[in-house]
């Protein structure tokens, strides 16, 4: 009896939730959580609700194409607008997880930086992995070549533990022009060349893993220079009163995008949101809170010089940066990670 009534109750709950899912629900926006989503709420979500009266709920995730895949396969997807990294954008688009965007409804393709335009998603923030140093310990503006030159500038160097980013930095330090980096890496000789450069620096490298470690080892004097996400460096300067420098030349950037999940019942509201979020004046309000660059043309107009200097989409900064080639890494991450791990273990 008890079991039967329990089953009946479970079935009732299940049916209720299933029918609830089919009913109209509020626009669900999903982002990375933490301080970043707090900033997004202030800059985008709340003003959007005030301007349009459209209600929304928020969720957070940590990324991973498997999460999106499982949601779509289970037929129980409750997410509408999701912020994804560039690799998830590529993979999810191939797999048909996302709606193809109608750019006419969100200002047209020319409204955005060309790199931010993709058929399945529109870029929302652009951020860089830069060379950072502590001005209290190092005078001047080091380049990647200086980063590799431990004879002239003795001291440890911080790099992210992993093959991605480091092969690019190694080639840049070896004098490969930015626009030739991935073409070089697509040859075996280029891979060899990058690993030879890493070999030279290996005894002097301190490997960081979590992004927060980069400013930490820089501030504690563990390293003289390090690669780091630009946002962490600017935040350390703002909140911990550090005097860290950022070298934009030879930095690598990537873009996070908004996607609309396929079959979303809130597509209309999602487009309204994307339209609202495409306004450069709105995007410019993010920079004072968190130093990620807006992707609409004109998002840097009118910024005061101190904010302009730390904005990744400041045209001056963008011109000397290189976009991470996701296609290259999707193909080669398996193989090169294996080799990198073996190299590191020796």
């Amino acid at each position: 009896m008890m079991r039967r009534s329990f089953l009946a109750a479970a079935a009732a709950v299940f049916l209720a939730s299933a029918s609830g899912a089919a009913e109209a629900r509020d626009l669900t926006i999903v982002s990375w959580g933490g301080a970043f989503q707090d900033a997004q709420r202030e800059v985008y979500f709340r003003p959007f609700q005030q301007a349009t009266g459209i209600r929304f709920v928020e969720d957070t995730w940590d990324g991973g194409i498997g999460v999106l895949r499982t949601r779509m396969q289970s037929g129980n997807n409750t997410w509408d607008l999701v912020q994804v990294e560039s690799e998830e954008l590529l993979l999810g688009c191939e797999e048909g997880l996302f709606e193809k965007l109608d750019y006419a409804r969100i200002g047209g393709r020319e409204h955005y930086l060309p790199e931010a335009v993709h058929e399945c998603g529109v870029g929302t923030i652009l951020y860089n992995f830069v060379l950072a140093w502590d001005r209290a310990r190092f005078q001047g503006t080091p380049t990647w070549a200086d980063f590799w030159n431990v004879e002239r500038f003795p001291g440890k160097r911080g790099l992210r533990r992993g093959v991605k980013l480091n092969l690019e930095f190694a080639l840049l330090a070896d004098g490969v022009p930015p626009n030739q980096v991935y073409a070089t890496l697509r040859t075996e000789a280029g891979i060899e060349r990058a690993f030879r450069m890493l070999d030279r620096l290996k005894p002097h490298i301190v490997w960081w893993q979590a992004s927060a470690q980069a400013p930490q080892i820089l501030g504690s004097g563990e390293v003289l220079m390090t690669s780091a996400p630009n946002g962490r460096i600017t935040n350390a300067n703002r909140t911990e009163r550090r005097d860290f420098g950022i070298q934009w030349a030879g930095s690598l950037y990537t873009i996070d995008s908004w996607v609309i999940m396929r079959g979303s019942p809130n597509r209309e509201q999602a487009y309204r949101f994307l339209q609202f979020a495409s306004n450069p004046a709105v995007q410019a309000r993010l920079i004072p809170l968190i130093p990620y660059g807006g992707t609409a043309k004109g998002a840097n107009d009118g910024l005061p010089p101190d904010l302009l200097a730390v904005s990744p989409t400041n045209p001056e900064n963008l011109a000397v940066s290189l976009m991470i080639d996701d296609q290259f890494w999707l193909d080669n991450l398996d193989r090169l990670s294996q080799r990198f791990n073996a190299w590191l273990a020796r």
Binding site: G96, I205, E222, S337, A342
Partner: protein, 415 residues
Amino acid sequence: MQEIAAIEMGKATAALDHRVRRAGHGAKVSAALLVAPLLLFVIVAFAAPIAAMLARSVTDQEVAPVLPRTLEALRGWNGTALPDDAAFAALVEDLRAARAAGTLPVAAGRLNHDRAGLRTTLIASARRLAAPFEGSAREAVLRADPAWGEVETWGAIARARGPWTDFFLLAALDLRRDAAGEIIAVPEEKAVFRTVFLRTFWIAALVTAITLLAGYPLAALIALGPPRLAASLLFAVLLPFWTSLLVRTAAWMVLLAREGVVNHALVALGLFGAPQQLLFNRFAVVIAMVHILLPFMVLPLYAVMRQIPPIHLRAAASLGAPPVSAFRRVWLPQTLPGIGAGCLMVFIQALGFYITPALLGGGADQMLPYFIGFYANQTVNWGLAAALSLLLLAATLAIVGLYGRLVGFGAVRTA
């Protein structure tokens, strides 16, 4: 009469026996029922997910449903030259069907684990072959992507036939199969896991040895010392238990930093002229692991030592044994069960350390769990992550089994 009485007695005894048995049976049933919820919980929440994860190390089910015709055509292919035209034609059909069904990316991702670039080869070929083409399937496929002209490309597909595979387990041992199915070693510049296995066991053994050397006198002091001292020492040993592992690891980062307490002290004492790099090396990993695992060594030792009657040592001394041989022949043998239990607990826990080496170690100090995490999260190669887990589990069980053989679990006492 006596006989009757005896028979009656016998009956009564039998009835009693029966009742006792029934009572025993009833107790067993109720015991089983009491345990059932926990057992069920352990199976559902613990054993089943682990088994499902480990199963991924020997199963291969991502390619077969997507490329069934191709695999059928490759049945009996010897792997030394390109397959026949039927395989090319089957591939075209499979790619078209998979593209329409949207199932291609998962299979493409699996093949990319085997051979770099195959992900793009499959996706791009499917796109190019979707439209009708002139000429033979072989020519069209080779036009779509020159990778189809390589034997190893077809070998990768044939290897992923499933449902069972040794691909991941071989990869976890730095081995692979070539297109013809022979097991060969991976090139030296890509061999990593055997080194990592050895390193993991070496670090765990080193940490176990140091905790034993440091923990043994400490446990003895707690067991034999004056009660007040013993209580405060025991408190000091237990204190780290109440702080999280992450906090303890981070504390070592602060202590060992270039401008940290330890470096300041060393320079102030004149031992070094300038601050040394104490972080991001093997030294930092081992010292933090010893600190974190020390309670697991001290507590079993203390539990065993407390039960050794102090009169034994006094008796040895009164019979003329010098302190060293009294310790060696009377005290030490009685503490062996504690040594065994402590070493086993520390060693097995040390094998699974992830955060501490990740935060305090350098490139060559990462242990196996780091690589399991790496393949599970970074390259999303769950088969390889599962294979590494399986090998670690098997090696651990082998060591535990060996310990049971040599020392016996009866001798393990933890409290």
